[in-house]
């Protein structure tokens, strides 16, 4: 066993173990932290595959951005120490069965299909990626690049519109029925005061 193989198996065990803990633990904050470790392990796998650029993007965007966003939203919406209710037994068993069957089928297909790796080495560089990203000719990715930039702008505007507080007077915490009863209470009060 070479060092490369040992590193690969350690990384795989780390990724899968932390991912399983992330979807099974009952405390939501711990779940987010296990997800963080799993994403770091995936970045390590990219380093092992010698695509350092993708590993760097993974760390910057996922570990630095999305996980922090998720942790913030956990703090904003619930107490971090609170236990989540366990899923019902029937649902757990059915999910495990469905997932195992799906995994067996998919891995059977992969195992049957004999992928042959070529001898050529993978030559990427940030220079090549950047040039092809903004090329308009054949194999150029200029159009998807522009579409993604518009998408990011739309997502930003959408986030602000969704998360903005409702203007004063229209409290978003009240449901329609509560508002109705509030209005009726006010009317009754006015009638009583008028009398």
């Amino acid at each position: 066993m070479t060092a490369s193989q040992i590193i690969f198996y350690i990384l795989s065990a780390f990724i899968l173990g932390t991912a399983i803990l992330s979807v099974t633990t009952t405390k939501i904050f711990r779940s987010a932290i296990w997800l963080l470790f799993s994403l770091i392990g995936i970045a390590g796998l990219y380093f092992w595959l010698e695509v350092e650029f993708i590993a760097a993007v993974q760390i910057v965007v996922y570990v630095g951005g999305i996980v922090v966003l998720i942790i913030f939203s956990i703090f904003l919406t619930q107490q971090s120490g609170k236990e989540m209710p366990k899923p019902p037994m029937l649902r757990s068993i059915a999910s495990v069965l469905a997932v195992l069957l799906g995994f067996a089928l998919t891995y059977f297909l992969i195992y049957k299909n004999d992928f042959q790796a070529g001898d050529k080495s993978f030559d990427w560089s940030v220079n090549k990626i950047g040039n092809q990203m903004l090329a308009t000719g054949e194999n150029g990715y200029a159009l998807p690049f522009e579409v993604v930039s518009i998408l990011l702008l739309a997502a930003m505007v959408g986030c602000i519109v969704i998360a903005i507080k409702a203007p004063a007077g229209v409290s978003s915490t009240e449901t329609k029925e509560q508002k109705q009863t509030n209005i009726e209470n006010l009317k009754e009060k006015e009638i009583v005061e008028g009398l």
Partner: protein, 104 residues
């Protein structure tokens, strides 16, 4: 690098995909469901990079798809969390079972 067969790396990404699937089936909390979706997207990214590196080493399309998926995942997480926080303001809960009407 070729001492690990491709199917072993694909085993990791397939297992990660179905772990995310399990989380999506069992969890009823919106934030944890979002985390499961992130796991699924990551498994797809591993697949793209591996296929590009070993099967088509003279092209870069898998790298581009990975970059675009990461970008869209970030935008999707931001919008989803804005919706979740807004829902929490109006319902005091982020359980999917209590969010059956989206009118208010």
């Amino acid at each position: 690098m070729t001492d690990i067969p491709i199917s072993n790396i694909l085993f990791v990404s397939t297992a990660l995909f179905f772990i995310g699937m399990y989380g999506l089936f069992t969890r009823r909390n919106m934030i944890t469901m979002l985390m499961s979706i992130e796991l699924i997207l990551n498994s797809v990214n591993i697949n793209f990079v591996v296929f590009n590196k070993y099967l088509y080493p003279d092209k870069l399309d898998g790298i581009f798809f990975t970059i675009f998926i990461i970008t869209i995942a970030a935008a999707e997480a931001a919008v989803a969390i804005a919706i979740i926080i807004n829902l929490y303001r109006s319902h005091r809960s982020i359980d999917v079972e209590t969010a059956e009407e989206m009118k208010y």
